[in-house]
Symmetry: C2
Subunit: 265 residues, 2 copies
C-alpha cells in the first residue's frame, strides 16, 4: 500500500511505480471526491508516480466526469466497471499497453471420415441467410478454443463431436466494435450423427459432401477458401494439434498449438 496522507486516496502501488484506486475498496461521496482527487494527484506528482489507475464501479460513476476533467482517459470498461488512467511523467512517453482488441471465433469442420460429409448450417438472422456455413461462433471470455468449438457444434446442431486439430485461421481488422478478428477452423470427429438443430439461431442443418460444399453456389468464397484447406489437410495429414502445459512463472494452465502429423492420432 502507498503511504496514506490525510484526505488522499491510499491506492495500491504496482511494480511499475503506478497507483490503482478502486472505488469498491475506497468509496468516496460525490461531494468529497473532487477535493480528495486533487490532493491525491498533488501527492502522487510529488512521489513521482507513473500511471494512475482508477477502477470505477457503476454506482460511483459520478467519479468519471471529475476524472476526465483532470486529464484521465478510458483504458477499458465492462459491465459494472470502467478503468480510467492518467500517465503522470511529463518528459517520458506513456508506455501503457492498450486493452485487448481481438475477437476470437471458432468454426467446425465436423468430418464423417467414412462418407467425407461435413455438418453445414444456414443461420436464421444472418445477412446471407441462404448461404451454407460451418457451425461455430464466438469464444466466451476465459474459454479454450477446443471447448468453444465443441460447444458451438452441440448447441447449434445437437451433434456431439470431438476436437481433432485446427486446420486454419483468418485474421482481419475493423470487425465488430472496431476490433480485429481471428476466426479459426478446426476438424472435429463426430461421436453422434443425429441432428437436433437450435431453432433460435439455425434455420437448416444437414450433412453435405465436402466437395459439394466447396463447389456450392451458396457458399461464400471465404468459406470456400477455408474448405479448400480441409482438402489439403486430407492429403498431407498435418494439422495444428494442442498440448496442455503449465506456465513456469505464473503456474496457469496453457494450451500450446503446433503443427503435427495427425494420421496416427
Amino acid at each position: 500500500m502507498a503511504q496514506h496522507q490525510e484526505n488522499c486516496f491510499c491506492g495500491q502501488v504496482d511494480r511499475y511505480n503506478g497507483i490503482t484506486v478502486d472505488s469498491k475498496t475506497e468509496p468516496c461521496d460525490v461531494a468529497l471526491f473532487p477535493e480528495r482527487l486533487e490532493a491525491s494527484l498533488n501527492q502522487w506528482a510529488k512521489d513521482k508516480r507513473r500511471t494512475i489507475w482508477f477502477r470505477v464501479d457503476l454506482n460511483q460513476s459520478y467519479w468519471i466526469p471529475e476524472l476526465t476533467k483532470r486529464g484521465f482517459q478510458f483504458h477499458h470498461a465492462k459491465q459494472e466497471q470502467a478503468t480510467l488512467y492518467r500517465w503522470l511523467p511529463e518528459v517520458e512517453m506513456c508506455n501503457v499497453p492498450p486493452y485487448a482488441h481481438t475477437n476470437l471465433g471458432v468454426g467446425a469442420v465436423v468430418l464423417n471420415e467414412e462418407t467425407k460429409e461435413i455438418l453445414v448450417v444456414r443461420e436464421r438472422h444472418s445477412i446471407a441467410s441462404t448461404h451454407w456455413k460451418l457451425p461455430g461462433g464466438y469464444v466466451e471470455p476465459g474459454e479454450d478454443m477446443t471447448t468453444a468449438v465443441e460447444r458451438e457444434v452441440l448447441e447449434e446442431t445437437g451433434v456431439i463431436a470431438k476436437f481433432k486439430c485446427m486446420l486454419a485461421f483468418r485474421h482481419a481488422h475493423r470487425y465488430a466494435f472496431g476490433c480485429s478478428d481471428i476466426y479459426t477452423i478446426s476438424c472435429l470427429i463426430p461421436q453422434t450423427f443425429d441432428i437436433v438443430k437450435c431453432d433460435r439461431e439455425i434455420s437448416e442443418c444437414k450433412w453435405m459432401k465436402l466437395d459439394e460444399f466447396i463447389s456450392h453456389p451458396h457458399v461464400h468464397d471465404n468459406n470456400r477458401l477455408l474448405a479448400s484447406k480441409v482438402m489439403e489437410y486430407l492429403e498431407h495429414g498435418m494439422g495444428i494439434t494442442v498440448t496442455q502445459a503449465i506456465h513456469p512463472i505464473n503456474k496457469k494452465p496453457i494450451s500450446v498449438y503446433s503443427v503435427a502429423d495427425t494420421k496416427d492420432s
Copy 2:
C-alpha cells in the same frame, strides 16, 4: 434515422432494431440530459427497440452517472469514448456479444539456416531479467501478425528479418487486465545479421545456437517447449503459412493462415 420526437434523442437504428446515440453528433447539456434521456427511453420502449447504445465522449462524461442510474452498463471504452448499453426487452434474454477479451502477442525465431543460430534477448524490465527469450511483443490495434513480428525484431535487435511461417502459439487465460492471451511463435529469415539493440527495453541480445537455447538453464520451460516445436519444424518442414485474400461480403483484406510445406518456399 429513427423517427424524431420532440425532446428525444434521434439516434441511429441498427439492423437488430437497436438504437445508437453518439454524444458527438447529438451533444446535450448536463442540465437537459436527464429529462431528454427519460423521454427517449419511454419512446424506445413504446417502439419495442432492443439494445440501446450510448457512445459517450470524454467531454460529455457527465452523461454516464445519469445512464448508469437508469440501468445502463458499460460495454467497452477506450481513450476518448465509453460505450454503454441497456437491453430493453423484458421477456427475451440479452444477446449482446461481449467486447474483445483476447490479447495478441508475437515472438520470433529468427533463424540463421546455415549456422542454426537464433536471435535471443534479455529484457531490461522483466521479472526474470536474467532469462534468455525470443524477441517479440504485443500486436498493435489493426496490425497484421506478420508485420508485428518483423517490427518487434527490428525495434528490439536492429536485425531486418522476413516472416516465413508461424510455428506454434499458446492460448492462456487471466493475463493482463483479466484478458486471455494468444502468443504466436513465427520463423523469420534474417536479411541482416548485425545487432543494434534497443537500450530502453533490452539489456542483452545475441545469436545463440538453437540447441544451446533449448538446454540453457536460464530459459523458461515455456520457451523451451516452444523452441522444441522449432526442432520438429526443422524435421518435417510443415509450417503455418499465410495467404492474402478479400472477404466476399465486407470486401476487407483478410490473412488466411494454414498448414503447408515450406521446404520449397
